[in-house]
């Protein structure tokens, strides 16, 4: 509170302000469309922005990473197996784990590069077959992302169509379609995914299909809820009166109003798919060698955890980063698109 007492307020200060009626309707700020408005709100969320930058870097690395180190991820060199990470530029900084040394279980520091007279440096080390882990890591990220994006896209297309049809047509159609979803949601995803993978034989396509088949129900339910709400709005009625077909009303008029919800749901599905892919690989149902995904790298890293921990730790960090950034971006988008949906 300002200091009131003792201050003199001259009379001029209390003159009525000049009011120009023509400016009454003037819009002070440029009007924003849906996307600009959402972006404005996402921008305020520091965690989401940092995640977006990090994620973009990870995705770029997934594409250029395999070509950076100059080694082919599939070439096996037995004489270079299980070499620890070494980056020449920073190898003399002792506290960084990139000096090409490794500590064995008795606590002795080994220098396999010098012992085996290896001239090259492997930035993230090599695996048991002497393959460059830097190249394999980014190839793995590429494949994991591919599986996640594919599965999510199928999820989205199927879930949105199913939900929209169920909600829009209502009545008996809705009743039957919802009962089907209820039963599907009662089935633990895990069981179906595993059985499907066994039938289709592990591979990129079968993992994608298994993830897509089990993942669309949430999306369908959310979209149905939205459609139920929106289909009775005036604009839908107006369009109907003008003779628009059902398909046109759903996709042209209802869909744009659901974009936010659909995007939010998709963003939460992607990390889920990344997790399930890694999970399947870890229990031995993932990609078959020599293909690498984050899951298979973690699985083989785990097998040699005691001797060569870097083989597990590096892919673990990358998968955690991917999951964290996706989750944070999804959180940010949720707050931005639909402030009511904040949890």
């Amino acid at each position: 509170m300002a200091n009131h007492s003792g201050k003199r307020f001259p009379k001029e200060m209390f003159e009525p302000a000049h009011y120009d009626e023509s400016l009454g309707e003037k819009i002070e700020k440029p009007s924003l469309n849906f996307w600009q408005d959402a972006w404005l709100r996402v921008k305020k969320n520091k965690a989401a922005i940092i995640s977006l930058v990090l994620l973009t870097m990870l995705i770029i690395m997934a594409f250029i990473g395999p070509y950076l180190s100059g080694y082919d991820g599939d070439v096996q060199r037995a004489e270079h197996n299980n070499l620890p990470p070494r980056i020449e530029a920073i190898q003399h900084i002792d506290w960084l784990p990139f000096n090409g040394t490794i500590t064995n279980r008795e606590g002795e520091t080994l220098t396999p590069y010098e012992d085996r007279q290896v001239e090259e440096s492997y930035w993230f080390g090599t695996d048991q077959f002497g393959r460059d882990l830097f190249t394999r890591l980014w190839e793995g990220v590429q494949i994991s992302l591919l599986i996640a994006f594919l599965a999510t896209a199928i999820d989205m297309i199927f879930g949105v169509s199913y939900g929209a049809i169920s909600g829009y047509f209502g009545g008996r159609v809705d009743n039957i379609m919802q009962r089907i979803i209820e039963i599907l949601m009662g089935i633990p995803n895990l069981v179906i995914v595993i059985l499907l993978i066994l039938i289709l034989e592990p591979g990129i396509l079968s993992i994608t299909i298994a993830l897509a088949i089990t993942g669309w129900t949430t999306m369908a339910r959310v979209v149905r809820g939205q459609v139920l709400k929106l289909k009775n709005e005036e604009f839908a009625l107006a369009s109907k009166t003008l003779g628009a077909t059902n398909i046109r009303i759903i996709f042209k008029h209802l869909m744009p109003n659901m974009v936010g919800v659909i995007i939010i749901n998709t963003m939460f599905t992607i990390p889920n798919a990344i997790f399930f892919e890694a999970f399947l690989s870890f229990i031995g149902l993932g990609l078959q060698p020599p293909d690498a995904s984050l899951g298979t790298l973690i699985e083989s890293g785990f097998k040699s955890l005691l001797l060569y921990p870097y083989q597990l730790i590096i892919p673990s960090i990358v998968i955690s980063l991917l999951m964290i950034t996706f989750n944070l971006i999804a959180d940010g988008l949720r707050d931005a698109f639909d402030p009511k949906m904040r949890d």
Binding site: E182, I183, G186, I187, P188, N189, L190, V191, I192, I194, L195, L196, L198, I199, E201, P271, F275, A278, F279, F282, I283, G284, L285, I298, F302, L305, L306, P309, L312, I313, S316, I319, S320, M323, I324, F326, N327, L328, D331, R342, D343
Partner: protein, 309 residues
């Protein structure tokens, strides 16, 4: 209410029937038989083995027989462990899994609730951000990655706890923590929201006006109501714990159901795969059912409807 419960039980039975049938036929579609990989058998030996386990009959007949047996509580015998009944195999291994699951669930929800309450009471301070950050980490880091890292750093490097196996309470600590990170993060996030919501309501203002201490307001008045919706996340948590237990039991070499399930998948031990599937599905469905009923009992504002309203 009674009508609703009956209807739900009806749905549960239908769901279970569909799951069992679906898994049965899916399993029959899996290429390769349990005997094709294990040993090199001659055709006649293979025929004898198939006849012994009833695999020479048409699939529909096998299915009917199997369903008949399941109704009588007989899940068949394992291919892998010669002639051990599946029910026996499973019951031997239920112990560690249940212990692990319960420990993770109890530790996870309690710790998560505490984190969430702290975050809500100290909203927008470093404590709030810290707990939110922990929640994001717990939700994001896959349980098996976390389990492997825990095993390496806590057990191998520091030597504080046993590395693996199942020989007593201290062996269960690390796997329980690894499993608990997901419940922690979910409970914490949920609790924070609910608590902030409740703290803004009129009766809390009244309690403050009456002169209740902040401690009393938070724990005597607010916490009770904020806890109600947390019950709803128990369903998804159960599913997550089941998934997690598969890999965490692998990592720590714990003789639980998850570990057995993974092994049976690898050797195509059909009866064990089916038995475990049925167990998982039943558990999942029953827990979701209990959660729904519990929710309507403790929160009278929730009205369960019979579906055809």
């Amino acid at each position: 209410m009674g009508k609703y419960v009956l209807q739900r039980i009806g749905y549960m039975l239908i769901t279970l029937f569909i799951i069992v049938s679906l898994s049965y036929f899916l399993m029959k579609l899996i290429p390769g038989s349990p005997f094709s990989a294990a040993e090199k058998l001659t055709d006649s030996q293979l025929a004898i083995m198939n006849a012994k386990y009833g695999l020479d009959q048409p699939v529909p007949i096998q299915y009917l027989k199997y369903m008949g047996n399941v109704l009588q509580g007989d899940l068949g015998v394992s291919f892998q462990f010669s002639n051990t009944p599946v029910t026996e195999l499973i019951s031997q291994r239920v112990g560690p899994s249940v212990t692990l699951g319960l420990q993770a669930m109890i530790f996870g929800t309690i710790f998560g609730i505490v984190l969430g309450v702290i975050a809500a009471l100290r909203q927008n301070t470093w404590m709030d951000y810290g707990s939110t950050f922990l929640a994001i980490l717990g939700k994001s880091i896959p349980s098996f990655v976390f389990a492997a890292l825990l095993q390496y750093f806590i057990a191998v490097k520091l030597g504080w706890l046993p590395v693996a196996f199942w020989r007593g309470f201290e062996y269960s600590i690390l796997p329980s923590i690894a499993l608990a990170i997901f419940p922690i993060s979910i409970a914490a996030r949920f609790m924070r929201t609910e608590m902030i919501d409740v703290l803004g309501s009129d009766y809390i203002t009244l309690a403050r006006a009456k002169g209740a201490t902040p401690f009393e307001v938070a724990f005597k008045h607010a916490l009770r109501n904020a806890l109600i919706p947390v019950v709803t996340v128990l369903g998804p948590l159960t599913a997550a714990l089941m998934t997690g237990s598969l890999v965490v039991e692998q990592v720590f070499a714990i003789p639980g159901i998850g570990e057995q399930f993974v092994t049976s998948i690898k050797v195509l031990d059909h009866p064990v795969i089916m038995g475990t599937t049925i167990l998982y599905a039943t558990l999942f469905i029953v827990i979701i059912f209990i959660v729904d009923i519990l929710y309507s009992i403790i929160d009278p504002r929730i009205r369960l409807s019979g579906g055809n309203n």
